[in-house]
Symmetry: D2
Subunit: 385 residues, 4 copies
């Protein structure tokens, strides 16, 4: 990443501020809520708390000679960095009842104290980029804490409520309209000022044909119309792989819909016809678009037309996640951050109600496999002009 | 079951005493330890606490008109009783972060109070059998709490210690000897005085050939000799299904053995050559016996020769779990207690270091699939005389 | 096995006669029919032809110094004998388009010629037991050729007809009656005259309680009554493992039943209400018996009451397949013939319309896992007297 | 597709000529070889023969009122066209021992005769496009017949030889060189003259950065260097999904490599260091490129730089298979031909030694999942200029 912030003044405080925000997210959770892993793709909240801490421990503090807080955490809380050694299996993160939540909070405090000590230190210059990456990394896990706890609660017949309000995509009463783009040669990607991930770079030219893009994302009401029109029963609307997914899972509605109610972090509720539909897979987004006589935008179309970053739901694009022309992964272990996932995933753009404010930007590339639905993922339509 | 105890005096107190013992078992555990399920066969300690309570709630209190403490617990904490309605899926017991441990303890206290109120009540007569069954049922779960927490801790690289001592099979310095039985017509099964499960009845005649049975169970030291003699690499020693299991799991030693150390509830330790080997599957027990030029005893041989109930490890027998001649399952939902599992499992006899004192008896039939190893299961040899 | 036949006179001719019968069974099959494996449990007819031949090649001819016809067949056509080396994987038998059917027939002729040369030879004495075992082994595969081809044809929407008549269990118009046995000490197992497999021996005493056994097996008409009474939808009728099987496979009727028709080797036909129901699993047999207020007989009850060996369908017993007291497997590779399968299987008795005439006897023990249905397996009821 | 050929003169003859070429390919095969399916991705040769025939039957002849040859073939030989009804499951194609090869050849002759009758008919105008598509479709299956039979033979320990020569990528003695492209705005896609598939259209502008592309594909010798440099053991060379694939399959070399020999359609042979490496997955292609300090070309780079269509191996590109801007699938069932597969697959370009001469063109887009290796798939390198 490129952090153009002055190395020092403010960066450490921004990091600590981000880390305090993480702690606010887990406030509604019991220690029991924080230890369980509800599926291999999700992680326990405790693991998120520890892993984001380990990231600073391992990649910011250890490189400048500060010893690890506890050596065994290098094994327990490494997520996927092959370059830094063996690690606890991803699907077994939920078995780590030890260390306890209290010990992990202790770990957070210890690392926070060491980070705070860096304020004003000359050593800061050499690690500013890693600090800024760690801060953005922690923001990404803030979103995952919410989506993962939602999945866990969604599996519980008691349908626990995470919070009384917020963390929930807001509705939009405007009728669907289309905005035209004339196409031609456009530039996309990050231009180099402010922080960005390596996968957003380099900025480069893309040639587009004229197209139109919807002014808002698809609503629950519109998705209900798709369901009622037997959208989940008509193979001609689906990609072949999507149709196999529908049949294997006997799908008849999006995730978290059940008996005319929708499970949310603020409780199960009746349908809000104007709320953006969310928790759809790429397959569903694509099928809905075909049913609506439209298609999904490519990520270049999306970025070029710069839809207002309403940020209520991530928007599936028609683009597979791939390196930009001229892409260079970061050096060392950070090179594993984004590059090694560039196959079998689709790009999502925008941001969601669970994304920390200020985290995303128009060039931001989120990515998930086409079958993933536990993120706040929705649908924006496009069509040829 | 048949509880011949006088209905009333003492029974309620014995039940409450058993339930207090359960609470002692979870004392070393954090709330986090108590919520996680480490594999589908195991259950979280919290679930055991709740399910045993629900058993009294549903089968003792509700039948005499006492309303359920919380209606939704009928769904959450039913284990496998089809007769009393739908239930939470077994493999997802570890997702129940709610109700919390505290709420479950509250549930235990509420049910205990209602049970205590029964003391001296005329209603006791009609429910004495159910109370006694519930007490024995709770004792069975006491053992499972230990084996399940051992499995959970065994998956954690930190290798947590459950307790400083106890809960661990004791060694026996005696050399292996053989005791002869002349065979002929013997009677096995429960004779009808004192409590027993339906699967122990009726007492019936079995004809045996003369045989010899070992005076103690196989030790860790003897199992090490089997390993060193390449016992896990020689197909001729194994049942066909066992050999497939060895290969599919790349087995080279019993469960919890690793790098010359053994994981136990009192910590990882070096081999104790005189300790009974435990956590072996039926396949391993059978292969070891073949290697040793012996065989496993049938359950009739075992019972007829009445080995001292040392009770350090459960002893695999050569008998598949099947109804005794004339077997009658209990009426109603209790009929599901034992009878419906009478296929694809093998009988174990004796009792283990994790079995509550006084729980087992010579006619007691434990049963598990041949591939199960997470119980304290060991090997006693027999041979034709 | 014990072949008491005079070693020489007639034995070779009986072997060759059996082998000619095998050839008759594949006459209705094309080379294409003979190469395909429809599921891992089944084998291609070509493989059966080759494997039975290899059995004589490897265990009769090679031990007396006659070199193998083709060395690579030791790898390709070994079924499960670990003692004689590596082998082609069972589930991949259907990939062996080479050697061709013609080459396998050539192999059969070559081995037959070598066997014929033994007639009158002094070497015969040493191999008479192996010859007799090979003959019985070939008869077992004759039955498998029929059940395996039935499974293959049953997967084909064209529902091919194997033969115009025969190979099909005959109906019985008699009403169901019960025959009483007084129980007591009986002897079962093979007494030692004539051929028998090792698993039928030794003859030994078993103590039985009085019981009654049905005079005929359950009919299609009776099974239809079970289906109509929602037998496949009532968990209380099923073993726990059986109920899981019903749900996982959405079972609502026995194998080969579909839309009021039954697929058979003589074509799809309407129900014959008096025909023995067949192709049921142990789970279905057990559930049917419970529904009918009865149970399955143990194998000792079955043998002691000696039902007329009508031999239309194999009859599931309530006995798990286990060694008889005093069982000794054969020496050498033949020791793998029966003994290593003595876990997780149930015994079937009697014989079926697909069993070669003269192959079975009252002491004969067939065995399959409880979920197997592709054999001609049916149900005889028993009950306590 | 767009067939600009005059509708009539020559088209029918070209179709029949293509169909005769198909028959030549199966000449070395026995009927047994032709019926077996060695894995779900592959199909039996008989099925290819029947399915390509059914394509003409269903999409050319039936639409002009010619009744189907046999009605049940619509079920048996439909591959994936949801629009025309139910079909035999893909993974069970190898169970179709009936209809026989002879019947399928009869089917081919019947359809060929009906096609021949169309020569000179006025009805030809309306079906010329379907005929041309059917011809190209049959050519695609010609390639699959070879790759599928190779897979089948590769599973057989006898390592059968398909042919004495040919069907085998030729070596190239030239040293690896790089050709530069200046980038800028280029056009790719089919321009509209001659046949093309819908997925090659429309022709459209793409903006490229300067790059270099290798003058030949990677050789076996170069791949051996990768293996010797422990390429399969170094996670830093692999995409995350690729590394998981390496570990799950214990991969240490490309498919069909074993003990310093390579299995080919002309028999097992020693390595030819100058032969193009083939049967690599996308994962391996990508890892090799990273190891070599290069990358794979995008499909636009590939097409713009127009490597000589040597056509020895298909060349993996870095491009996921997606619709071109302005893509319109064909009307009706043909719309399922290409469009519904546009997710989770990668584009390959060029053509292989198994591709019929004249079938491919520079705009041709082949596509397979990244884990597929049974096609003749190889590696061409590119790098930023």
């Amino acid at each position: 990443m490129r952090g153009d912030a002055d190395p020092g003044g403010g960066l450490v405080e921004r990091v600590l501020c981000t880390r305090r925000a993480t702690m606010q997210l887990v406030e509604p959770l019991s220690h029991e809520d924080m230890v369980v892993q509800s599926m291999p793709d999700a992680s326990p909240a405790k693991w998120h708390l520890a892993h984001t801490t380990w990231f600073f421990d391992r990649f910011v503090l250890q490189p400048i000679g500060i010893p690890p807080v506890r050596a065994e955490y290098d094994y327990l809380f490494n997520s996927y960095y092959e370059a830094v050694g063996a690690r606890h299996p991803r699907a077994a993160r939920g078995l780590l009842t030890r260390p306890s939540v209290s010990e992990v909070l202790e770990y957070r405090r210890a690392v926070d104290a060491r980070l705070a000590d860096l304020e004003g230190s000359p050593r800061l210059a050499g690690i500013a980029d890693a600090l800024e990456l760690g801060r953005n990394h922690e923001e990404q896990h803030q979103e995952l804490i919410l989506t993962d706890i939602k999945h866990l609660f969604g599996e519980n017949a008691l349908l626990p409520v995470y919070a009384a309000h917020g963390v929930h995509p807001k509705g939009d009463l405007a009728p669907l309209a289309w905005r035209r783009h004339d196409g031609g040669l456009v530039e996309i990607g990050h231009s180099g000022t402010g922080f960005s991930f390596d996968n957003e770079r380099p900025r480069h030219a893309v040639h587009l044909r004229p197209f139109e893009i919807a002014t808002r994302t698809v609503t629950e009401g519109e998705m209900i119309a798709f369901v009622r029109d037997r959208g989940y029963e008509r193979p001609e609307l689906w990609l072949s792989e999507g149709w196999a997914w529908v049949q294997a899972n006997a799908k008849r509605a999006p995730m978290y819909w059940s008996n005319d109610r929708v499970f949310t972090l603020i409780g199960a509720r009746v349908h809000d016809l104007h709320a953006p539909v969310c928790h759809v897979t790429y397959y569903e987004a694509d099928a809905y678009a075909r049913w609506a006589g439209a298609r999904l935008p490519t990520e270049a179309e999306w970025e070029a037309s710069a839809p207002p970053l309403a940020g209520q739901v991530w928007e599936w694009t028609a683009s597979a996640y791939a390196p930009y022309p001229g892409f260079r992964p970061l050096e060392g272990a950070f090179g594993e951050y984004n590059g090694k996932f560039m196959v079998s995933q689709m790009v999502l753009r925008g941001g969601s109600c669970a994304t920390p404010r200020g985290h995303a930007r128009p060039t931001y590339r989120n990515f998930f496999p086409p079958s993933a639905a536990w993120q706040f993922s929705g649908i924006r339509l496009a069509r040829d002009a």
